[in-house]
Structures are given as structure tokens and as C-alpha cells.
């Protein structure tokens, strides 16, 4: 089968110290590697937009206008910086936690809202995108992303596939099989491992004895990178490099974004059952949105006035989408047996008729 040539760019020996471009205080550590200003402003707006969705989802949930939602507030740099490195010709395999990544990639707001309302309109992904509905079972998206990446390679494109997983998910066998397949088949795949410190109530130190998950890449002969998951310029930079390696036929990369789940597991979860404020202390200070904002303001790339304008635009965009989502019609009962096969079996035809009969009655 296809010989796998060694990567041209040598695997970044993944150090325990996460790669960082701006400190929590907003000061620049490696000026030469900073993305240009328009990119920084774009990433800032995308993070603000992602944060706004997360905040509104909470409010809407409390008033019964949104289903149970897994928040990602505080993880925006990890999701936005990675997904922003893709085009719509690339594949995105997000988990339930990755609404911020999906929005960044281009999933329409109204459809994202519909998904979290468990309306079918949220599941029929747009034709012009290559994104799958959020994965609920843990880790299964990883081998599937390898397949999509391999398909692009076989079809002779330069497109890549990106998949997300969590620290907990990285314990599943599918994580291992996917990384090994991607390496062995030299698939153009970028694996994002968001280490946010928790798998529901289980801390990463209980999840594994390893303290640096990016080291796992070495076991597959592929590059592994550890990056500050609250520094969007850093996540964007390392992801862009990984995406380019993949486009150039140099194979997959594992990126561990070191971040933190400051929020509950879902809006219905009560973290006080398993963690104290001491656990979460310190992470607010590392907030990714504030960090970039401080940087942009202090460097004069953004004014308070422009920032307020961004807020207005983002709010308006969301409310407009919410109104569209509110108008999506409810599904009919018979739809539960639709879309099982292209051509329904005799059994399904009968079951559909039964459901229609019930509706009549």
C-alpha cells in the first residue's frame, strides 16, 4: 500500500511548555511569528461572536428557548484559532463542545441554534460546507476524519480534514487507531485535542498519568504540538502550519490545546458536586478574549469605539438569526422513519403508513 514518506518539515519536538505568542497580560513574546493585524482583528471578532453565542445560549436555555447546551466560554481561542485555519473545501468534525469552532468554520447561526433546539433543520448541514453534525459519542469522529482526509488525497485535492476531541476522548481506542491510520496512510488530517482539564467530573490527572498529551504523536511517528489554548494567535499559527503540512502531502499533526473548562459540563450540570472554586481559580485571568483585546487596544489596532461597534453588529446578527430559527417549522411525526435509506424498505413504508394513520386519528 501507499508508502508514507517522512514529513519534510521535521516534527516539532513537542515540549511540555505550551507554545505561546501573547502572555495572559497581552504582551507579545515572539513578534516575528505574529499573524498580521487584519488576521488578528478577524480572530478577535470571531472570538467575540463565539462568546456571544455561548452567553445567549445560556439565557435562552433558562427561558426554554434552547435545549441542553455544552458551554465553551473560555475556550474560544482553542476553537476559533484552529477552525479559522480552514477553508470551506476542508472538512470539519466537531464534538458537542465545539459550537465555537463550527461557527468559525461557517455553520450558519440560525442552523446552529436549530441544532441545539434539536430541530432537524440543525442537522441537515448546508451543501456548500463539509461539516458534520456535532458528535455525541466520544472519539468516533477521529477515524472518520481520517477517511475524509484520505478521500481528498485519493481525489487529488489539497483539502484537509480537521477533527476535535477532548482530554477524556483521547482515552478512547478510536483516538489511537485514528492517529495511527493517519500516520500509516499519510492522510492530510489535523487532530485537535482540546485539553480543558475535565471530562465531566473526571480531572485530567485521573484520566491519565501522562502530563503532556501531545507526546502521544511520537508513538505514531507524526508531529505533535502543545499550544496555549487560550492564546488565539498561537493556536491559529500552529494550526496553519499543520494544515499547510497536510496540504503539502506531509501528513497528519496532533495539536494539544491547553485550555480549561471554566463552565459546567452542560448548562444542566452542577460542578460543585465535583470541583471547588480553587480548581478553577486563575483561569479567568487567562481569558482568551480579554487577552487579545488588551493586546489590540494597547497596540492601537482597536479602539473602544470600534469594539463597541463589533458588539452591536454581533448582537444584531444573532437576534436576526434567532428570528429565522424561530420560524423553522416543527417536524411531522412521520419524519422519524424518513431518511433511513434512499429507498425505504417495505417494512419502513408500512411503518410510515402507520404513523400517518395515527396522525389522521
Amino acid at each position: 500500500m501507499s508508502k508514507t514518506k517522512a514529513p519534510k518539515t521535521a516534527p516539532t519536538p513537542s515540549s511540555d511548555e505550551p507554545f505561546q505568542l501573547i502572555t495572559p497580560e497581552g504582551t507579545v513574546s515572539q513578534p516575528e511569528r505574529l499573524p498580521d493585524v487584519p488576521t488578528r482583528l478577524k480572530l478577535y471578532r470571531l472570538m467575540r461572536r463565539a462568546r456571544h453565542f455561548d452567553e445567549r445560549a445560556w439565557v435562552l436555555y433558562r427561558t426554554g428557548r434552547m435545549g441542553v447546551f455544552p458551554p465553551y466560554g473560555g475556550m474560544e481561542a482553542s476553537q476559533v484559532g484552529t477552525a479559522a485555519a480552514l477553508t470551506h473545501a476542508d472538512w470539519l468534525f466537531p464534538t458537542y463542545r465545539d459550537t465555537g469552532a463550527a461557527l468559525t468554520y461557517g455553520l450558519p447561526l440560525e442552523q446552529t441554534i436549530a441544532y441545539w433546539r434539536t430541530s432537524p433543520h440543525g442537522w441537515a448541514m448546508p451543501q456548500h460546507l463539509k461539516i458534520l453534525p456535532f458528535y455525541i459519542p466520544i472519539a468516533t469522529q477521529y477515524p472518520q476524519a481520517v477517511g475524509a482526509a484520505l478521500a481528498e488525497k485519493r481525489q487529488g485535492t489539497r483539502n484537509v480534514a480537521m477533527a476535535y476531541i477532548g482530554d477524556g476522548g483521547s482515552s478512547e481506542g478510536d483516538f489511537h487507531e485514528a492517529l495511527n491510520f493517519a500516520g500509516a496512510l499519510n492522510a492530510p488530517c489535523v487532530f485537535i485535542l482540546q485539553n480543558n482539564g475535565w471530562a465531566i467530573s473526571v480531572p485530567t490527572r485521573t484520566q491519565t498519568r501522562a502530563t503532556n498529551l501531545s507526546l502521544r504523536a511520537q508513538g505514531y511517528g507524526i508531529p505533535g504540538v502543545r499550544v496555549d489554548g487560550n492564546d488565539v494567535l498561537a493556536t491559529y499559527q500552529v494550526t496553519l502550519e499543520a494544515v499547510n503540512r497536510a496540504r503539502n502531502g506531509e501528513g497528519p499533526t496532533l495539536i494539544e490545546t491547553v485550555t480549561y473548562r471554566v463552565k459546567p459540563h452542560t448548562v444542566a450540570d452542577d460542578p460543585s458536586r465535583y470541583r471547588s472554586d480553587a480548581d478553577t481559580a486563575g483561569w479567568d485571568a487567562k481569558d482568551p478574549v480579554r487577552r487579545l483585546r488588551t493586546h489590540l487596544l494597547s497596540e492601537g489596532h482597536l479602539t473602544e469605539k470600534e469594539d463597541a461597534e463589533i458588539t452591536r453588529e454581533i448582537e444584531a446578527e444573532f437576534e436576526a438569526a434567532l428570528q429565522v430559527a424561530d420560524r423553522f417549522p416543527e417536524p411531522t411525526p412521520a419524519e422519524i422513519v424518513d431518511h433511513v435509506f434512499a429507498e425505504p424498505t417495505p417494512q419502513l413504508v408500512r411503518q410510515r403508513a402507520q404513523l400517518l394513520a395515527e396522525e389522521q386519528a
Binding site: 433546539r117 459519542p137 482515552s171 485521573t206 422519524i336 411503518q351 395515527e358
Partner: protein, 334 residues
Amino acid sequence: MTATPATQTRTMTMVAAINDALALALERDPAVHIFGEDVGVMGGVFRATDGLQARFGAERVFDTPLAEAGIIGMGIGMGLAGLRPIAEIQFAGFLYPALDQVLSHLGRYRHRTRSRYHVPMVVRAPYGGGVHTPEQHADSPEAILAHTPGVKVVIPSTPRDAKGLLLAATEDPDPVFFFEAIKLYRSVKEEVPEEYYTVPLGKARVVMEGDDVTVIAYGGMVEVAQKAADAARAHGIGVEVLDLRTLVPLDTATILESVAKTGRVIIVTEAPRTNGFHSEISATIAEEAIESLQAPIVRVTGFDAPYPPFTSIEDVYRPNPVRVAKAIRQVMAY
């Protein structure tokens, strides 16, 4: 069961009864160990293991990494080595990553080692729909396990049974899958003996007696069958409702006895229709009691489609009393 009318009782939900059974099992047998995802500090996503780690320590009740094959595989090893593992799988649909360990090994040890080894493991998992869980959280995979030689399958429908059957399962020398209907966790309360008692595996329960129709169900469908039976009774139809309690071993005797009396059978499950356990029950009757049948054996089931992740229509998927009542009319009119 061993519980005598004299014993102290307490009002318990099903999840409270399960928690109580687990505590008694841990107390009684030092070999019992409970593990799974979030079962420790948090006490499980449904609180079934609430307080057990605090009371029995992190060696007896502990969180594992997030990997179901690892959980079941490790449990097999613990069982081989003399412990009594009780594994929790967070939702029945998340048993799927562990099915290799289950189908290839769990049920085969006694057979392949000619009883040199056996695995006294209990695998608990919430199953079924009706409470608006996310995608893949409402599956009913009991038929897969029932088709797997060497493992038993238990599905309680009341708090009292849940406690007694779970304690019987923990005493059983062989692997037992214990599926708990999410819908029933907190919706039903009843007086449950506080003492240690067991309800034997393999004995069905006659929920209500009747001469005209037999309705067979288990787990979350028993209350649905009962509601339909009550309605039918109002119209003078005598419905006998059977709660199987265990699918493996299956209490064929009680089923055939009832069918011999009524001659009409309805089987209710919420699993997908094709090849669900309802089909096994029907086939058993068609093979053993054909002469007493006065009507077709009607299966009221889920559909040949995934359980819908679309909340507003998910209740259409599960059998409801109206559908069962319709089936009762159908077999009576036959």
C-alpha cells in the same frame, strides 16, 4: 423473594433503590468493586452511586478513564482474579465501544476454560427513551446481549424489583447485564424493604391477571402495558400483564401458561422492530403454543429507524398506551 412482610420499608425511587442495593452489596462482600465514568466523586450522572465513594473509599468505588472497552475489559480481568466487579456504563448506547470485550470474551470464559475461570461481573447501564436525552442516549440494545451466549440480561420495572434483582445479579457467578429504564429512575416511587433481599433471576412477574389477552413487556414498557390494560378492563376486556424481569434466563413457563389461558398475545418493547427481543418471545410462542393461539401475535415496538434526536417528535417513537390499546382491540376483534 426473601423479604418478609415484617421488614422495615422506605419509600424509594428506582434510582434510590439501586443506590441502596449497591451500598448493601459493598457492605456485604469486600470483593465488590464499583467503577465507571463519573461514578466516584460525582456519584454518577443519574446519582446511582451517590455517596458510595465517600462511604466505601476510592479503592472500592472509583472513576476510570473514558473508555468503555477498557472498563469492561478491566472488569473481566478483575472477575477472573476473584473480585466482583460492578461496572457502570454511562448510557446503554455507550456499551458499543465495549462490545468486542462482551461478544468475544465476557460470555465465553466459563465455556472456553471449562469452568476453570468465570466472570462474576455486573454491567449496569441506563437505557431507553422518553426523557429528551441527546442523540444516542436513548438506545435499547438488550436484544444484542440476549443473542450473546453466556451473559444474562435483567431489566427491572419497579424500585422493589430493581433492588432485589440487582442484589441477585451481584450474587450471580456469571456475567449479568442490568439495564435501567431512564424513564423510571425518578418517575415511580414505592415502599422498598430496607434489608438485604434478592429477587431470583429467571422468574417473570404477573403484574395483573386477566383471561382474554396477554400483554408481555419489561422495563420501561411495563407501565405502558398497564395503562393500556386498565383502559381495556374498563371495556370489560381481561388483560394479563407479564413483566419478564429477565430476558436471559427467559421464564418461558410463565409465558406459555398465560398464553394457554388467553390465546391472545401482544408484546411491547421500545427497541427497533426488526429482530428485537419481542421477536424472540413471539417465535418461542409460535413454536411452543401455536394450538392455543386465537389471534396473530402482535408486536408493538420501536421503528426500523434510529431513535430520533429530534425532541419534538421523539415520543412518537416509543410505544404508548394508545398503540397498545389499539393492538388489544385488534386481537380481540380477530
